[in-house]
Subunit: 155 residues, 2 copies
């Protein structure tokens, strides 16, 4: 069964760059036999992407095994596989965030884990709020357009 990453959890980042992975996320990962997470800088926003190491391996398998890789595959190889880092849990279920990832996500003393189903992200809480507000505006604008046209495309 695929137990998805659901919910948002804000945890503290200590002086050593450690942060507790939310228990529900950890449970989901450990159920798959994983003892840590895979992290890489997000391609879409100022945050860190996280998932199980198995997902990275699945990504590798999905790439065509050709002597001359496609441009897309090459990009994925560089931007995800190449920049990903494996971070194991400590006894208390924490991971150590790499220094350069912390910098790219503008993290300071708190990190917000956002479940996105198959993956999760780690955000600076304030930046997360801003990003979600913007997405909310976008969704509401779409809804308003529906009302004025009389059409209803809701699922």
């Amino acid at each position: 069964m695929l137990k998805a990453f659901i919910g948002t959890f804000v945890n503290k980042i200590d002086a050593k760059g450690r942060i507790s992975v939310p228990a529900p996320f950890r449970t989901s990962l450990q159920a798959r036999g994983l003892t840590g997470v895979a992290l890489f800088p997000s391609l879409t926003g100022a945050c860190i992407e996280g998932c199980g190491l198995d997902r990275i391996e699945a990504l590798v398998e999905s790439m065509h095994d050709a002597p001359l890789p496609s441009v897309d595959d090459d990009a994925i190889a560089h931007l995800i596989v190449g920049s990903a880092r494996e971070t194991p849990f400590d006894a208390g279920g924490r991971i150590v965030l790499p220094e350069d990832f912390i910098a790219k996500a503008n993290l300071t003393d708190k990190g917000a884990f956002v479940g996105k189903g198959r993956t999760f992200q780690i955000w600076e809480p304030g930046a997360l709020a801003k990003t979600q507000d913007a997405l909310m505006q976008r969704v509401l604008a779409g809804r308003k357009a529906q009302m004025s046209t009389g059409k209803d495309e809701a699922r």
Copy 2:
């Protein structure tokens, strides 16, 4: 077996933020093998949306599994999956409402569960009454407009 959420039930919210899920709703959920509910802030009104966790997982499955998600999928992931919270039943069939959800829905000491078929909502009883009054006015106005134009778009 009753599978849809039907009816309105007002229950008490105690000091710990606990509230009893109406027995008919619980029965419906437990019949599907669920041991709790999934909650998330409504995108459209000042209330909490509720459904079975299976519905959220289905949403995750419906999203395209790509290294680089579409903006729409990203919005869904942030505003629903990321904002959702899994809340298990206690022995008495209650759930604990997250503090921030209580705030967003302006809940104080009572919560009104409103069945909406596949999902349900939790409202502050006064706000629910106002919202339903407004909807009633809207329906009546539409009906009146139909009479004057002679058109009938009723389904």
